[in-house]
Structure formats: C-alpha cells, structure tokens
C-alpha cells in the first residue's frame, strides 16, 4: 500500500511539472500583453505589476486588428458553412452505396490526400490560379480555397460517422413514406449531429489557424486574416513586443475556448479519424 501511494504522488508531481511546461508560454504571452512598454523591458516579472490594456488598444487603433478579425470571421464562417453542406451531401452516397470501379475508395483517398498534403505544396499553384482569375488579395479567393480544402476533410470525416448509423433506421423512415432526401434530413442528420459538430469545429480551427495560404495570397488589411496580422507586427527594423503579445492572445483565445468545449472529440478530429 505504501508503495502504491508513493507512486501516485510521483505521478501527480510529474503531471504537474509537465502541465507547467505546456502552459507557461501561454501565461508569459498574456503577462507580456498586459504590461506597459517600460515594464516589458524592465526585467523578468511573473505577473504585470500595473496591468494595462494599452497594447490591445494600440492593436485596434493603429494596427488594423478590427479588419483582420472581420476578415477572419467572414472567411471562416462562409467557407465552413459551404463545405459542411457540400461535404455531407458528398459523403452520404460514399457511406451508403457501393459505386462501381471502386470509386468509393478512390474518392475517399483523394479527399484524405488533399487534407494531408503540406500546404507549401499547394500555395504556388493556388497563387497562379488566383492571379489568373484576379482574385489575389480578396476574401472571395480565400473562401474558395478554404471551402475546397475543408470539403475534402468533411467528406473524409462524415463518411465514417454516417457509416456508423444503421441503415435500418432510414429504411424504416422511407417505408413510412419519406423520400431518401427527407429521410437524410429528418433522421440521418440528427443522428450524425455530434459528428457534424465535431467536424465543423475542426474545420473552424484549421481555417482560423491557417497562415501560409493567407500570407501568400493576400497583401493588405482588406483581405488579410488574424494570423497574417500577427506576423505583420514582427517588423523588419523593430518588434512591437506588447502589441505582438496582445495579438497572440487574440489569435489564441477563440481556439483555446473551443478546445476546452470539444475536448472529447479531439482525438478523432486531429488524427483524421485514424483513431476513434
């Protein structure tokens, strides 16, 4: 018994240390963002002695942060909404019918490949295509690209969620007089709702967090998103530490809140469904 107890104490101690390592950088950023300019340079203090919101004010007054936030919200909402509808409609037949020529498998594999491809491989072709359509530096251009990328993710995730719903349920609804589409809307979608919500949240996180696509395809606050806005604060000559920290806090906050709400669905979403 004594040995058991000593082991438990050691386990909790180890976990506490690891949690501290995982969370300290967050605290240091919040801490820096709440300090006055002089205090930031005045040496190490673990909390702001005279906290201020100056850095946040500066962000919105002089660094276009309202624009970045607006662009991010528009681009994320529209592209995720579109891709959820498109992706679910495409995932349904993949989960329900056996298409000829092994089309099911190849469609799913393409969907997965698109999602796994490192973004750097897509950026140059996307730049060329958007330049051709004169959609560089527009929110519409970003929306088109994110919709495409998210749709493949939604297809991949939703077909595995839909496949888990027993056929009998919707067949019963169809016997009762529903068409397949009504059965999908009335019976299947409500049952798949948890999966749909998890998929939606992951699409939101991935889109909101994207940097490289937005960085390469936009150039002014008319279309730049929050992560690009954050990076503009690291100037060539000097770094605005306070506003940079504040921008990081704003960039992280929505995602941290999301993460806490949906932690149960995390494994499946982040591992592309490899682990259930």
């Amino acid at each position: 018994m004594r040995r058991r107890r000593r082991e438990r104490i050691l386990v909790y101690a180890a976990i506490t240390v690891i949690l501290a390592i995982a969370l300290f950088p967050f605290w240091w950023m919040v801490n820096t963002s709440l300090k006055h300019q002089v205090d930031i340079f005045a040496g190490v203090t673990m909390y702001p002695h005279s906290p201020t919101l100056d850095n946040y004010r500066k962000l919105f007054d002089t660094y276009h942060f309202a624009d970045y936030l607006r662009n991010s919200i528009i681009v994320v909402t529209v592209s995720v909404a579109f891709s959820l509808v498109l992706g679910t409609v495409a995932a349904y037949p993949l989960a329900r019918y056996r298409l000829s020529y092994g089309l099911n498998q190849s469609a799913l594999v393409v969907a997965l490949l698109v999602r796994m491809l490192p973004v750097i491989l897509l950026v140059i072709p996307l730049y060329i295509v958007l330049a051709k359509w004169s959609l560089l530096n527009t929110r519409l251009g970003l929306i088109l690209i994110y919709t495409g990328l998210n749709t493949s993710f939604v297809i991949w995730m939703m077909q595995s969620f839909l496949a888990e719903i027993p056929r009998d349920i919707e067949e019963a609804a169809m016997v009762d007089g529903d068409s397949r589409l009504t059965a999908l809307r009335r019976v299947v979608i409500p049952l798949a709702a948890p999966g749909l919500i998890a998929t939606a949240i992951f699409s939101v996180i991935a889109t909101y967090n994207d940097f490289l696509i937005a960085l390469s395809l936009t150039s002014t606050p008319d279309a730049q998103t929050v992560p690009v806005g954050v990076s503009t604060l690291i100037g060539k000559i000097q770094i605005e530490y306070g506003p940079m920290a504040a921008a990081g806090v704003i960039g992280a906050l929505p995602i941290v809140i999301f993460a806490i709400i949906v932690q149960r669905h995390f494994v499946r979403g982040l591992t592309l469904g490899a682990v259930k």
């Binding site: 796994m116 490192p118 493949s152 967090n209 494994v267 592309l272």
Partner: protein
Amino acid sequence: MAAVSLYPLYYGVRASFTRYLYGRDFGWTGLRNYRIVWDDSFYHSAMFTTLKYVVLTVTIETLLGLALALLVARELKFSGMIRVGLILPMTIAPVVVGVMWRLLYDSNVGIVNPLFQALGLQQPDVLAHNRSAFIAVVLVDIWEWTPLLFLIILAGLQSLPEEPLEAARVDGAGRIRVFFDHTLPLLRPTLLVAIVLRTIDAIGTFDQIYVLTKGGPGDATRVISIYAYNTAFLFTQYGYAAAMLVSLMVMVLLLMIVAVRMMRRAAA
C-alpha cells in the same frame, strides 16, 4: 471534387516546366528548372536541414508522447482537465506558437537569457546563433506536437485488449517485461500511423519558423518550405520554386501512400 483539388496541382506541375517570373509566364523551358534544382546547393542544404529537423522532432515527440501516455493512462483525478491542458499547445495557430516562443527566447524581453544568467552561465542569445537557433526551433516543435503523439498513443493504449496483458501479469511478468513483450507489439499499428502522419506534417513546417527566425541566422533554420516560399514570393521565381516543390511532393506522396494503407488496415 477531385477535379477541383487536382486542378491547382496540375498548374503547379505545369509551372515547374516554365520560366514563370514576376507573376508572368515567359514560356516553356522543359527540364531546365529541374536541372537547376539538381545543382542548387541551397536546395541541398535546405533538404538536409529539413531531414535533420524531421528526424529529430518526430523521434523525440514519439518517445515523449509514449511516456506521457503511459503516465496518464490510469485512474486520475481531473483527467479531463489534465488532457485539455496537455493538448492546448497543438490546438492554437502555429503563428501564435511562434509569437509565444519569440517572447520567451528574445534577448531583450525574454526569459531564457535571465534564466541562464541566474544559473551563472553565459547569456545564450538563442536566436542569434546557428546552433542554438536550430535547437530552439526543434524544441518549439516538440512542445507543440508531442501532444498529438500523446493523444493518438493514449487512445491506442485505452483500446488495447485487457486479457493478454492480464494473463502475462498473472504469469508473474514484471511491468517492464509486460510493456516490451505485450503492450508495445500490440501498440505497433497505432504508433506507425501516428509517426507517418506527424512526419508528413513536419516536412511542411513553416509558420513557427517564419515567425521565430525566418530561416536564419544564415541558413541555420532554413527548411525546404521556407526556401521555397522565399524563392517564389520574395524572389518571384515561381517556376523554379514549383520545380523544387514537385520534387518534394514525390517524396511526400510516397509517404502518404504508406499512411493511407496503414490507416485503412487500422480501420479494418
């Protein structure tokens, strides 16, 4: 769907055979770009840096993730909160991760220099020197992505069948024996999926390095994605960058085929 996603890729491959400069196509050049890539010493060193980066980060992350999963895979109080705390680093934008660590590493406002000073050591100015800058970006990657390996491995551990492990314990095998003889072999498929997924992602690492060092000092942290980005968007050599990336894509695709096959087998 396939058409929409493959259309840009077709453009990318086509661009790699052209002199595509300043956003304009100056005509077909055949394999010229590829010949330059073959001889480009910057490309070689960027590939080597990427290789070093990927091997180091993925190895350490797998070992730490496994250790962490073994530590947490038991009855714990606050297990939900512990899990959220542990995975928070990988959920936020990599750009923000870069900002956080820039604030820690920085010579003027950071905490690393004062820490070394307090220990009576020389102040390292981490991001200013080749070696320490490379170690610094590797550490950031480990901080950010160990949680992913941890999560996948934890889920794998929790879905292992109890009987063989229990039987081994009843037979009197010690904990370490049970782990190496039974747990690890059973965990192999999960581990492989996790490692391949993480490797593919690590090859494309860009955001944090861009924020922390922009590939510097010199070329110490210039991984392939940074080099390709600079070539295309700073020096506007789109065709040449495309050729560079096509060669990288072939490697990534090979890895992805392995990944997809393993994921299908794991799902079956």
